[in-house]
């Protein structure tokens, strides 16, 4: 429901962004810890969170940095891993109403994430104040969570640090498992991609030839390309 009046819309957005912000706080914390375990400088890690606002892309990014990869590899990993945002932006673009000018669109695009998209796309339409309000707390949560992660990641006892190393992967599991329980195609994607990824990790020739970032790209593209042929999604999904 598109409510008239700037303030009301902004506040409404902030309210709907609160749960997302709280969730991001913990994911970003796990990311910060992981980055400090990989030896990425604290300032670089925080800058990455301030300019990217995406978990999988950022984890792949710090991996490329930690493995001393190339700029080209960095661009390629981000293009593939974050490609879904383009589709989300297309959907959002059609629902953006109320004098949503190009500068406003340029500003809002920085905050297109899976969760913000999920909230905004369920509205019949939304304006700039609503979307800005919606983005506020997720952004604050993401950046402050990262700061907390890099600070604590260096201070905590080694045993706790190493235990926290699993946190971001556990969160990924929490994201991918529930939909796979009810959607066989998603389950297929998970097994196919994990299987390929293990090949790239364990087969000496493959692990020597391809860096982690490149391996993730190949796994994702091959898996999505093949499974899309076998199980095309129903028209309603991803609208």
């Amino acid at each position: 429901m598109y409510l008239k009046g700037r303030g009301r819309n902004f506040i409404q957005g902030v309210k709907e962004g609160l749960p997302i912000g709280l969730g991001y706080l913990s994911v970003a914390f796990a990311f910060g810890v992981k980055a400090s375990l990989l030896g990425v400088p604290a300032l670089i890690t925080v800058l990455i969170s301030m300019t990217n606002l995406t978990s999988a892309g950022q984890l792949a990014g710090i991996t490329v940095i930690a493995e001393a990869g190339t700029i080209l590899e960095m661009i390629a990993t981000q293009l593939i891993i974050n490609s879904r945002y383009s589709l989300m932006s297309i959907s959002l673009s059609q629902k953006a109403v109320g004098n949503y000018t190009i500068p406003k669109r340029l500003f809002s695009s920085a905050f297109v994430t899976d969760e913000i998209f999920a909230v905004a796309v369920t509205k019949p339409s939304f304006g700039f104040p609503f979307f800005t309000g919606l983005s506020l707390l997720p952004y604050v949560g993401w950046v402050s969570g990262t700061v907390a992660g890099v600070l604590l990641g260096n201070v905590l006892p080694v045993e706790i640090q190493s235990a926290l190393g699993i946190a971001i992967y556990a969160m990924f599991i929490a994201i991918i498992i529930p939909p796979a329980e009810t959607n066989f195609a998603v389950l297929t994607v998970l097994f196919f991609s994990a299987g390929l990824s293990c090949l790239f990790y364990f087969v000496p020739f493959l692990s020597k030839t391809f860096s982690t970032g490149t391996a993730v790209i190949i796994c994702a593209v091959v898996t999505a390309a093949v499974v899309s042929l076998i199980f095309p999604i129903k028209e309603k999904e991803y609208e």
Partner: protein
């Protein structure tokens, strides 16, 4: 990696991610028709997260056994639909416990 290269890296990262989000938001005002493309984009995030998690999660704590048990605990917690935070906390606790067992005995 020098700090200059690192700055270039994060610049490349930020610009790439931003372009993916902004170009469609500003310029595209109509829907994607191709069912294949829609399917492809729908599956990519799951494929990415799965490839990034396996097998790397098993080497994420410096102790293979602890990580394997942490992974199992995370999978079970996710199957029981626990929240992101709860799944992560339970996995970490499992890893901590396994790490401390040799200390206790």
């Amino acid at each position: 990696m020098s700090s200059g290269t690192m700055i270039l890296m994060i610049l490349a990262m930020a610009v790439t991610t931003y372009i993916l989000r902004s170009i469609p938001f500003v310029f595209i005002r109509r829907k994607i028709k191709s069912r294949y493309l829609k399917s492809f984009f729908f599956y990519v995030p799951y494929a990415v997260l799965s490839a990034m998690t396996f097998p790397y999660i098993l080497y994420s704590t410096g102790n293979f056994l602890a990580a394997a048990i942490g992974t199992a605990v995370g999978l079970i917690a996710a199957l029981f639909r626990r929240s992101l935070l709860m799944v992560a906390v339970l996995s970490c606790i499992a890893v901590l416990i396994v790490n401390y067992i040799p200390v206790i005995f």
